[in-house]
Amino acid sequence: MLVEYSSELLIEVDCVSKSFGSYLAVDSVSFSVPRGQIFGLLGPNGAGKTTIVKILTTLLSPDSGRATVAGLDVVKEPRRLRSRIGLAGQYAAVDENLTGRENLDLVGRLYHLPKKLVRSRSAELLNDFDLTGAADRVAKGYSGGMRRRLDLAAALIAEPVVLFLDEPTTGLDPRSRNDLWEVLERLAAMGSTILLTTQYLEEADRLAQNLAVIDSGKVIAMGTPSELKSLVGSSVLEVALEDASRHDEAAIVLSAIALDPNKVEIVAGRIRMAIRERSGIVADVVRLLDQSGLPVAEVAVMKPTLDDAFLSLVGHGTKGGSYD
């Protein structure tokens, strides 16, 4: 069963482009997301993330290319498609004059769910998102984090086949962000298919199994977070001996494990070299040097971060300032 499902593509985007006037906001983007995966669209302001989400949720139609969600074409079958998706847009869409519960009831009814089901789903979701206490209060008095949670609950009310989340944690304090991550991780663990956009590398790294990095409307890299990290390369090993005068000797010993034996440098009183990261590497380094009678004072392995990957991919000139 699971194997069968996991090969099913719930989102397929094929060469989709979209312009606003003469500005090409989405430029021949292609990617696909199999059932049960969290897919991240990562990119700076104005990259085109929201535009892609809007195309996939039928809010905008593409100028060219083809896209399907849950097997339905975004242009040809928008109405059926809408009944299978949930969307939490970039800005929480909550009716401030309704209570939390009324908000969920309204959205549930507009999905044409049976009344009884709407009521029980609302109650469950309010509970899941820690809103039971505030359920019958008007949403005007909700904090930013509560609004986000309510918005997400609304997106989930019809148990969508595919969930779209556009920057779900933007504007949240670190604690609320963490809470929301936990919610998303639980959804993921239960096999939800989610498309998530984010500007936060940490978020993409933690949540997404696959990522597309978008810049100026183009996909500039795609892969798992660790694949993207490996694009920028290897980990860096730094070693300092108790006796700094013997660093030259140590460098020769360590060249045996260096990625490039000719590039072992001594920088700022430390030996520095690129290595292939693996578990137990620190112990091996210490043992190797000990065997040569070179007592170690300090060893550090620095892994590349997704930040490094992102910055090196997107480069210097990221376009700022989009207000959509």
Binding site: R35, G36, K54, T57, T58, L59, L60, R79, R80, R82, S83, R84, I85, L87, G89, Y91, A92, A93, V94, D95, E96, N97, L98, E102, L106, V107, R109, L110, Y111, H112, L113, L117, R121, E124, N127, D128, V138, K140, A154, L156, A158, E159, P160, V161, L163, V183, R186, L187, M190, G191, S192, T193
Partner: protein
């Protein structure tokens, strides 16, 4: 998170398949009702709005009666009997601006985007607004007639024409709401929507037979006033409450009502569909 989340992706359990035209119409109706309910709740949740939309027309009524009442000559009836139909139409006309304002507000808060991503009928967002605003109009009209009775107003033509005049006023307001829905969706923000409505409703309402007899106005204005649909609606209401020939006025008002809806409802829905 409890086990219900595990049901996500388990299958399309809850996804109702549209059952042909009848099913779609049923959905369009139930969606419009859900949206109407939501919009009416707004009046309960914002007391200021409720007070503003009910007290203001009553203040107009009382002020006009006592300020203009003495000055207007040559009427066959008391000024209050003349005024009530005019002020009822003025109220539904001014009230229709709220339709556009409400839609612009929803747009600003990203709610329209959420609605557009739902499998609901394309007409329901606007229908919910125009119906809710008509319900509010109905309540305000009753309030004004009640206050009117306290200061001397009477229906002179029997109960059925009286009730019909109320229905006609609400229908006419419903038609104006669709214009407001269209301009409200075209506006960039709430203030824009407000201006976009008042800019045509204000002159249309005052350059009409609503408050003073047409024959007191300069000749060039009379031409406009006579073709003004507001004048027509006011005349229809007057005929229904005071007596006299009604058919022509009522017919014209109904034609205007149907015509405005036929033009502006599709325009508004079209704009909603393509809103980015």
């Amino acid at each position: 998170m409890t086990e219900q989340l595990s049901k996500i992706n388990a299958g399309d359990v809850y996804h109702v398949v549209d059952a042909g035209v009848i099913g779609q119409l049923r959905h369009a109706f139930s969606d419009a009702m859900a949206m109407t309910r939501r919009n009416l709740l707004r009046y309960l949740r914002i007391p200021d709005l409720l007070v503003f939309s009910t007290i203001q027309p009553v203040i107009f009524l009382v002020l006009f009666t006592y300020v203009f009442g003495g000055a207007v000559k040559g009427l066959h009836t008391s000024y209050i009997d003349f005024l009530i139909p005019g002020i009822v139409i003025q109220t539904v006309a001014f009230g229709s601006t709220q339709t556009g304002v409400g839609l612009a507000e929803d747009m600003g808060k990203g709610l329209i985007e959420r609605f557009r991503s739902l499998p609901m009928a394309r007409s329901a967002v606007m229908a919910g607004r125009t119906i809710a605003d008509s319900a509010r109009n109905l309540a305000v009209i009753f309030l004004m007639i009640a206050v009117g009775y306290l200061i001397g107003f009477r229906f002179h033509n029997g109960i059925l024409p009286a009730l019909f005049s109320i229905v006609l006023a609400v229908l006419f307001g419903f038609a104006l709401s669709w214009i407001s829905a269209f301009t409200g969706l075209a506006a960039k923000n709430v203030e824009g929507a407000q201006v976009a409505s008042f800019i045509w409703i204000f002159p249309l309402t005052f350059a009409s037979a609503a408050f003073v007899p047409v024959n007191t106005m300069p000749g060039w204005l009379q031409g406009f006033v006579k073709v003004n649909p507001i004048t027509n609606a006011v005349d229809a209401l007057r005929a229904l409450s005071l007596g006299g020939p009604t058919a022509r006025y009522v017919l014209y008002t109904l034609l205007w009502t149907v015509g405005l809806i036929a033009v502006f409802a599709p325009l508004a829905v079209g704009r909603y569909k393509t809103k980015t």
